[in-house]
């Protein structure tokens, strides 16, 4: 038994992935070098992708790897390189002292309350929790996207186009 759960491959994979995610997250908050922080970010995103695959959402897991671990991490690294400040006057990367401590305590209280609620609530138990989907989730997601959520899907594509054009216009160098 591992924290009250029987030792199966799924449980071991869950704990390894949770360890990777939380360790990378803590590294992300404590490291000083911004480039190392971006690498830790990749660790967080890959761990979350593994959690999705444990949960039977293989398509969402692959999308997570492609978009988050691939595109967004690289974009963050690029912008870190582009905006690397040469002046080293302010070596303090975060709010220190009393404000940092108060923020930490506040966040700890919020997370503790959420964990307590998660523990106290009796969640409904699914009888088919081991293998809930009897066919490929890609087919199910395609069916849901193009039959049930067609309008939302089109709205998201319109939003992506708008965001792309807006990003190009905002980041463009203005010629006087």
């Amino acid at each position: 038994m591992l924290f009250g759960f029987p030792i199966t491959g799924e449980t071991v994979a869950y704990f390894v992935l949770a360890l990777i995610i939380i360790t990378s997250g803590v590294f992300l908050m404590t490291l000083r070098n911004v480039m190392h922080m971006a690498l830790a970010l990749g660790g967080v995103f890959l761990g979350v992708a593994g959690i999705f695959i444990i949960l039977g959402a293989d398509f969402v897991g692959i999308v997570q790897v492609m978009i988050y671990a691939g595109a967004i991490t690289i974009l963050m690294v690029f912008s870190l390189m582009l905006t690397h400040s040469r002046r080293k006057t302010d070596e303090e990367p975060e709010a220190g002292g009393l404000r940092g401590t108060v923020t930490f305590i506040g966040v700890a209280v919020v997370v503790g309350a959420i964990l307590l609620v998660v523990r106290k609530t009796s969640w409904p138990v699914s009888p088919t929790a081991l293998q809930p989907f009897h066919q490929s989730t890609v087919l199910l997601i395609a069916d849901a996207l193009f039959h049930t959520y067609t309008i939302q899907f089109e709205l998201v594509s319109a939003l992506l186009t708008t965001a792309l054009v807006g990003a190009v216009i905002i980041a463009r160098k203005e010629e006087q």
Binding site: A57, F59, T137, L145, I170, K173
Partner: protein, 101 residues
């Protein structure tokens, strides 16, 4: 496995992201922290869709929408950051006071 470990993981990841977004001084790190909070929400969505009494794929579709919105947000946020860096030569949160009254 049960539902609770995944919800707990989501809560902890959200807490790490919240702390970073509230205390960090670098704009890019704040954006990264926001991304981590969105990821925690995605974990919860997919976990609820997996452990629902009648399992369905709706939670995964919401998670996909969420990822698309997050990608758009990062693109616009980094564009604003680059434009800001060009004016002020800084990526510090405290310097972003152009529209402050």
């Amino acid at each position: 496995m049960a539902l609770q470990p995944f919800l707990a993981l989501g809560a902890i990841l959200f807490g790490i992201g919240l702390y970073g977004a509230l205390t960090k001084r670098n704009l890019i790190i704040v954006l990264i922290s926001v991304e981590m909070m969105l990821n925690a929400a995605n974990i919860n969505l997919v976990a609820f869709s997996h452990f629902a009494v009648t399992p369905n794929v709706d939670g995964q579709v919401y998670a996909l929408f969420n990822i698309a919105i997050a990608a758009a947000e990062v693109a616009v946020g980094l564009a604003i950051l680059l434009s800001f860096f060009r004016i002020r030569n800084s990526s510090d949160v405290r310097d972003v006071n152009l529209m402050k009254w």
